[in-house]
């Protein structure tokens, strides 16, 4: 069937030459997938809480300030480092997934290390400044 043969060739052009379905099995492809799921779930549950705490601005200034001051304690300050770490990984790895889908899956391993590098750079910019804000007040 010439039609199917044509479909296969166009698929082979846009994705890697490996058989379908191996990108997420083992090594970088799998661990990025695992981390994407774990960070995604963590961010989702924080989002639920964060919308509820922000909704307190509609209750009273006192109620909002009482809850937000708990976000300014040292322990929560460290929690915010973990939250930002999860968000930054999920964001950069999400862009990597888009590039795998729409550009070229051949570079997925290299792109995983780019994600790690960008994550380190972003965290270096955020963590010291944030910890100074948390521990100097």
């Amino acid at each position: 069937m010439p039609e199917q043969a044509a479909t296969l060739t166009s698929q082979q052009k846009t994705t890697s030459r490996r058989p379908a379905g191996t990108l997420y099995r083992g090594r970088e492809g799998m661990w990025s997938w695992v981390l994407h799921r774990i960070t995604g779930v963590a961010i989702f549950f924080f989002l639920l809480v964060h919308i509820l705490d922000t909704a307190l601005v509609r209750v009273s200034p006192e109620a909002y300030n009482a809850v937000i001051s708990s976000y300014q304690t040292p322990i929560m300050g460290l929690g915010e480092v973990a939250l930002v770490a999860a968000i930054v990984f999920h964001a950069f790895n999400g862009l990597r997934i888009i590039l795998i889908d729409f550009w070229n899956a051949k570079y997925q391993k290299a792109m995983f290390y780019v994600v790690i590098a960008l994550w380190v750079v972003t965290m270096l910019a955020f963590v010291p400044r944030h910890l100074i804000n948390v521990f100097s007040h």
Binding site: V57, P61, I87, V134
Partner: protein
Amino acid sequence: MTTTIEAPRSPYARSPKKRGVNWEKWGWIYMRVSGVVLVVLIFGHLFVNLMVGEGVSALNFAFVAGKLTTPFWMVWDVLMLWLALIHGGNGMRTLVNDYATQRLTRGILKSAILAAVVILIVLGTLVVFTFDPCPAGSPADLLPSFCSAI
């Protein structure tokens, strides 16, 4: 007795009988489109709230009131609310489909996700658009400075 052996690794063919909207495809596209927008919205949100000035230590009612009376930040926050909740809800739906083996469990978990997403979108949108930055009877030192001019 003759046995018909199918050709190995025959290319995946979509059944021609299926009609209507391919919701899974649009969900897949939504995750990518909203993802790109959310990277910008959430990185901007984190920068303004945690990096500028004294970061998390400066957050209080007056700070939020200043943002939620600015149309730019109202649009920013409402967009973030809708895009992030639907993105997160759809992601959780994917996990439930992957890990919940019982049909009933899947139904209960996905209903809970849908309820949480709908309730929080309605709540969050109402909060942004009905917000009063200068509630009567509140101590002036908790309110944004522009309240004293009224």
